[in-house]
């Protein structure tokens, strides 16, 4: 199987879906000739022409709103927000419009669109090119939220997102783009949205995570294995709909739970996962539910020592899991 980077899996999924369905098109800032500032849409304009690879004006609300209109008509727009931080001007269109189109029309209309957005830090992006914004949308019924961590999952889930009949926010961790590589089958496969995956089996501590921090968890698990601590790692992959069954099963495996994400602690999705567990798997628990997350400051600063302080890493994760294991 070919080894692809995380971002190449994005491009591949887009290309395959565009080849298959002429109604799929991409739009966003610099997605055309430039191929995207991260190069996620590289080469698509050559293959599909400027009509299906649209450079839009610098207007996120329009990118979302026009996608809604086009998808209501029956197209399959895949919009790019250049950085997840810049999704903010589109919040009204996403929350008031996309999320509610089906519900408010009593199922007469729906808008099958995908919004891709690179999120997360560790790339010297400073306050506004490093944010995790998933928490803004996980509480909005009507949206699906996908946050893959591996190239394999990226391809399968992005293809599912494009085929989905409801609006999907597809958050790509930008630090993973070139850092994370993995096997990606050449064939046309999809992965179901709403299904978590056990990325590592273990018996002492259950880690629940997604995105970049999932990799820290896997590295930490490897490390801790040497100390005789066996870590069970669940990759949520999709935040909404949340795979509750998988979460509860993962908790039952060890009785000790650590939820990890890069988004700030307070209000982050970890709270939701924790609340689910505290309500539905309370008697499986052998220890308090721990969360390890970005600090409660407005965003990740630019200066290297501050960025480092904000970001999680293998060391911090290992330390936290070890502590919980010893609880």
């Amino acid at each position: 199987m070919p080894i692809l980077s995380y971002i190449d899996a994005v491009t591949l999924a887009l290309r395959e879906e565009m080849q298959k369905n002429p109604r799929v098109f991409v739009l966003g800032e610099d997605v055309g000739v430039r191929g995207g500032v991260f190069r996620a849409t590289h080469g698509l304009i050559d293959e599909f022409g400027p009509e299906r690879v649209l450079d839009t004006p610098l207007t996120e609300s329009a990118i979302a709103g026009v996608s809604i209109g086009a998808s209501v008509y029956g197209m399959r727009p895949v919009a790019e927000m250049q950085f997840a931080d810049f999704i903010m001007p589109a919040v009204n269109q996403i929350i008031s419009e996309a999320a509610k189109m089906r519900y408010r029309s009593n199922n007469s209309w729906h808008c099958p669109l995908v919004i891709r957005a690179p999120y997360g830090g560790g790339v010297h992006g400073g306050l506004y090119h490093s944010q995790s914004v998933e928490k803004l949308f996980t509480g909005i019924p009507g949206l699906k939220i996908v946050t893959p961590s591996t190239p394999y999952d990226v391809k399968g889930l992005l293809k599912s997102a494009i085929q989905d009949e409801d609006p999907v926010l597809f958050f790509e961790h930008k630090r993973c783009y070139r850092l994370i590589k993995g096997e990606v089958p050449e064939e046309d496969y999809t992965l179901p949205i709403g299904q978590a995956e056990v990325k590592r089996e273990g018996t002492d501590v259950t880690v629940i995570s997604y995105g970049l921090t999932l990799h820290f968890a896997l590295q930490a698990a490897e490390e801790l294995q040497k100390e005789g601590i066996s870590v069970h790692v669940l990759d949520l992959r999709t935040l909404i709909p949340l795979d509750k069954e998988a979460v509860l099963q993962a908790v039952a495996k060890t009785g000790k739970v650590m939820i990890i994400h890069e988004d700030n602690l307070t209000g982050g999705f970890g709270g939701e996962v924790s609340a689910l567990i505290a309500e539905e798997a309370f008697f499986e628990l052998d220890a308090p539910i721990r969360r390890l997350a970005g600090p409660d400051v407005p965003a990740m600063p630019y200066s290297p020592p501050l960025e480092k302080e904000f970001m999680l890493n293998q060391e911090k994760v290992t330390h936290a899991i070890r502590e919980l294991a010893e609880f």
């Binding site: 209109g69 086009a70 209501v72 197209m75 029309s105 007469s108």
Partner: protein
Amino acid sequence: MGNERHRELGLTDDQVLQMYRTMLLARKIDERMWLLNRAGKIPFVISCQGQEAIQVGAAFALDREKDWLCPYYRDLGMMLVFGQTARDQMLSAFAKAEDPNSGGRQMPGHYGDARFRIVSGSSPVTTQLLHAVGVALAGKMEKKDFVTLTTFGEGSSNQGDFHEGLNFAGVHNLPVIFMCENNQYAISVPVEKQLAGGSVAARAQGYGMPGVQVDGNDPLQVFEAVKTAADRARRGEGPTLIEATSYRLAPHSSDDDDRTYRKAEEVEDAKKKDSLNQFKNYLYGAGLLDEERENAVNREIAREVDEATEYAEQAAYPDPEQTYTHVYRE
């Protein structure tokens, strides 16, 4: 007003009578809703009164078999032209299960009807402009020749989405018509405090598209402007911005008390220009209407509104279980 104007515009006698009838039907449905509201039978009304000429004039200029609409909450007249009935309106007013717009989920005035290519709208103003641009983009991509019309108030024209929508449509030269229904108030805020420069149409130039100002009390002027814009759009010449000015004859909604911010005389003055009277006079002048025929139309409409009200009042509410359906595809 020359009484041959409609023929010069290519409208038959039947068509203008139909226009008048639809304007009147819209007005009468609206008036009935206020009565129902004041009687405590429906919780909310938002009114088309004063804007019927704009809505009906515009809708008649479109192709009702293929054009798309992204309307706003006052467009009752336009909905009737495109195919919705008095009964549909009343089902919505009573929030009954059969309401074609939303099955009773949305407040009245939140139109949406897949049968007639009317895209579902929300309450936050001006968002629909971008949907219209998106529909138009899709049409262009699919090489269809329909046009998309979207409407909004003059207050709403100050929202960012207006700017982003017109700019996008201009850059991509899309077959979309932006029509502002300038009724001179955004709730209590008059145009002077709302709209720098005082003219919505003047903004078109900044997007390289025609900006047209018309008398919104004259359905024929509106018809002409929208027809021109639609023809232009179908020829691939891109978007148009139209500003049709009239006056909001009723309070903003049943929750409003307009006496707190405008004088009764001002409203009375505006009523003298009421498009319904003006257009009726035109039709009288053209020999298309006389007292007898007018009475017949009035009776017909009264019956239609009565029947619609009765039906809707009797109709079933949605089942509480409907609260949970259609969040996602099922």
